[in-house]
């Protein structure tokens, strides 16, 4: 069984991103970049399926500028066998990413495609669902457990009210939630080995995808600031403030 995982290059989750002062874009010129945490969970899940003997090959795909090779190499150090970079300097929207992935799915014919549920920069939470629609495949989004057996994936999903379990015929799309697994750290020998694994480079045009944006960012701004509050001395003071000043209890 072949697994395709999508890995996105994003600003590291520890970085507090701010808009540029002219409001045209965010200021991330020198920010630390990492693999999107949910994509790391996706890679880990694929690697575990391979270790269990369920999967035989893992292909990591990323779309974006050539620096995305770093995130593909990270995925390889964690256990992906080879990589594909869809290179572009256009900021791709989820629909364009999904179209590129669809073209790759057509070529590679994976049995399982694992993506993050959301990337921590765009926070869109769309790509997996869009790919599933374009490829006509079932989707198990926000997964906290995936069991693959008998041509099916049984996916437990984190939903607003609790957990939901669905059976999906393969090939299927899974998007990861936080509690699916805890990703491992890459060992130094594996980081070295990853450098020699094959990495193909293509681009949206070669995949037949029109990546022109549909949504224009007109402005970015910081959110409304909260004014600094006060410290209260004890519970009595707190209850008094909540009753008589804030009037919320």
């Amino acid at each position: 069984m072949k697994i395709l995982v999508a890995v996105k290059r994003v600003v590291d989750y520890n970085v507090k991103v701010r808009p540029k002062s002219d409001g045209t874009d965010v200021d991330i010129a020198n920010a630390k970049m990492s693999i999107n945490p949910f994509c790391e969970i996706a890679v880990e899940e694929a690697v575990r399926l391979k270790e269990k003997g369920v999967a035989t090959e893992i292909v990591a795909v990323s779309m974006g500028p050539k620096q995305c090779q770093e995130q593909i190499r990270t995925a390889m150090a964690l256990g992906a066998d080879r990589g594909i970079l869809v290179e572009t300097d256009t900021a791709l929207e989820p629909l364009a990413v999904a179209k590129c992935l669809k073209a790759i799915v057509d070529k590679e014919a994976p049995d399982l495609i694992i993506l993050g549920k959301q990337s921590i920069d765009g926070d869109n939470n769309q790509t997996g669902q869009m790919l599933a629609a374009l490829a006509g495949l079932p989707q198990g989004t926000f997964a906290s457990e995936v069991v693959v057996a008998d041509g099916k994936a049984k996916v437990t999903r984190e939903v607003d009210g609790g957990l939901q379990t669905v059976d999906l015929t393969l090939p299927a799309i899974v998007t990861t939630d936080l509690r699916l697994n805890e990703p491992r750290y890459a060992s130094l020998p594996n980081i070295m080995k990853a450098k020699k694994k094959p990495l193909d480079i293509t681009n949206p045009a070669d995949l037949g995808v029109d990546a022109a944006p549909r949504v224009k960012t007109l402005k970015v701004e910081p959110p409304a600031e909260r004014k600094a509050g006060i410290k209260v001395a004890d519970i009595d003071a707190l209850v008094d403030k909540l009753k008589n000043e804030a009037k919320v209890i």
């Binding site: 507090k16 701010r18 808009p19 965010v26 989820p94 629909l95 921590i120 920069d121 926070d123 869109n124 769309q126 669902q129 869009m130 790919l131 629609a133 374009l134 006509g136 495949l137 079932p138 989707q139 989004t141 926000f142 906290s144 984190e158 939903v159 607003d160 009210g161 609790g162 939901q164 379990t165 669905v166 059976d167 999906l168 015929t169 299927a172 936080l178 509690r179 549909r214 949504v215 224009k216 960012t217 007109l218 402005k219 970015v220 701004e221 910081p222 959110p223 909260r226 509050g229 006060i230 410290k231 209260v232 519970i235 707190l238 209850v239 403030k241 909540l242 804030a246 919320v248 209890i249």
Partner: protein, 309 residues
């Protein structure tokens, strides 16, 4: 403009989130239709017909839609959605599961989690864990949007008198089946709709200690939430997680207990009207957003708070 709102419901009744979405639809302006897709969902359809400002309710009542499987519902939404300029769904796990899938079928770049309507094609939405608010303009003919409930005041659940129109056909994509669900049962208000939320973090140390928070919550009529750390550690179930990748809440009062205030947590609660933080570390970042901070050991402060309410 003609707007299709995808109802959030449990077949028997309409969920409150739908009312916030209708509010966003009103802000866009135009004729508003609600789609109720479900099985034995007459109750939800009747409730939808009473919602203020809605002119029509379309009902797709079929076993294929009973558990809101995205594969089936998205086909339906894309099919009828062709006749509308806007398709709106709540930013619930269900809305996020279905809306992007329907959007891709319509070749539309969906816009997630809008927090304000600037015009019929321009919206604001938070990105980067809410550290940045982007104003974005869509050029797609059919705009597919998910709506952040806390950003729009709910319209009245009563007062409307929409016509109810049953839809005849149903499609089962045949690639997914519902196996089961484990839904949390609670007499407390729903996290995203509660006026008061009491949340616990890693500082709570274990699940049993959350009892202290439940007691406070019950005195206040509050919902109980948690940080990711508390959920990951298994203290409480996933549906209680507040934050960038959990639930977004904006109650009148948010009480954070033993929560440090990581940006991912703040992203889910910093629009609350009044924030209280109880933390033994006076340097904890949560105090930077708290209106009232109490530096104290939660194990003495929380029982005392409960006794004084």
């Amino acid at each position: 403009m003609s707007i299709l709102v995808i109802a959030e419901h449990d077949n028997a009744s309409l969920k409150g989130a739908t009312l916030n979405v209708v509010a966003a639809a009103k802000a866009i302006g135009g004729d508003i239709t609600i789609l109720v897709a479900g099985a034995d969902c007459g109750g939800a359809a009747e409730a939808a017909a009473k919602v203020d400002g809605v002119s029509k309710v379309l009902v797709a009542d079929n076993a294929a839609y009973g558990h809101q499987l995205a594969e089936n519902v998205a086909l339906l939404v894309a099919e009828i959605g062709k006749n509308y300029t806007h398709i709106l769904a709540p930013s619930t796990s269900n809305g996020k599961n279905i809306a992007p899938r329907a959007a891709a079928l319509l070749d539309s770049q969906a816009i997630s989690d809008i927090s304000s309507v600037e015009s019929a094609d321009t919206f604001k939405r938070p990105v980067y864990a809410g550290n940045v608010i982007a104003t974005v303009q869509s050029s797609d003919a059919i705009k597919v949007l998910t709506v952040r409930g806390t950003a729009f005041d709910a319209v009245a659940a009563e007062g409307g008198s929409a016509t109810i129109e049953p839809l005849g056909t149903a499609t089962d994509a045949g690639v997914s089946t519902f196996v089961g669900e484990e839904l949390a049962k609670s007499d407390r208000p729903e996290l995203t709709a509660a006026k008061i939320v009491v949340s616990g973090g890693r500082g709570m140390q274990n699940g049993e200690n959350f009892e202290m928070l439940y007691k406070v919550a019950d005195k206040l009529g509050a919902a109980v939430g948690a940080s990711r750390a508390a959920v990951d550690a298994g203290f409480v179930p996933n549906d209680m997680q507040v934050g960038q990748t959990g639930k977004i809440v904006a109650p009148d009062l948010y009480i954070a207990v033993g929560i440090s205030g990581a940006i991912q947590h703040l992203a889910g609660m910093k629009d609350s009207k009044v924030i209280v933080a109880i933390n033994k570390d006076e340097e904890a970042p949560i105090f930077q957003v708290a209106d009232y901070g109490l530096v104290a050991d939660l194990f003495s402060a929380v029982p005392e708070l409960e006794s004084k309410l």
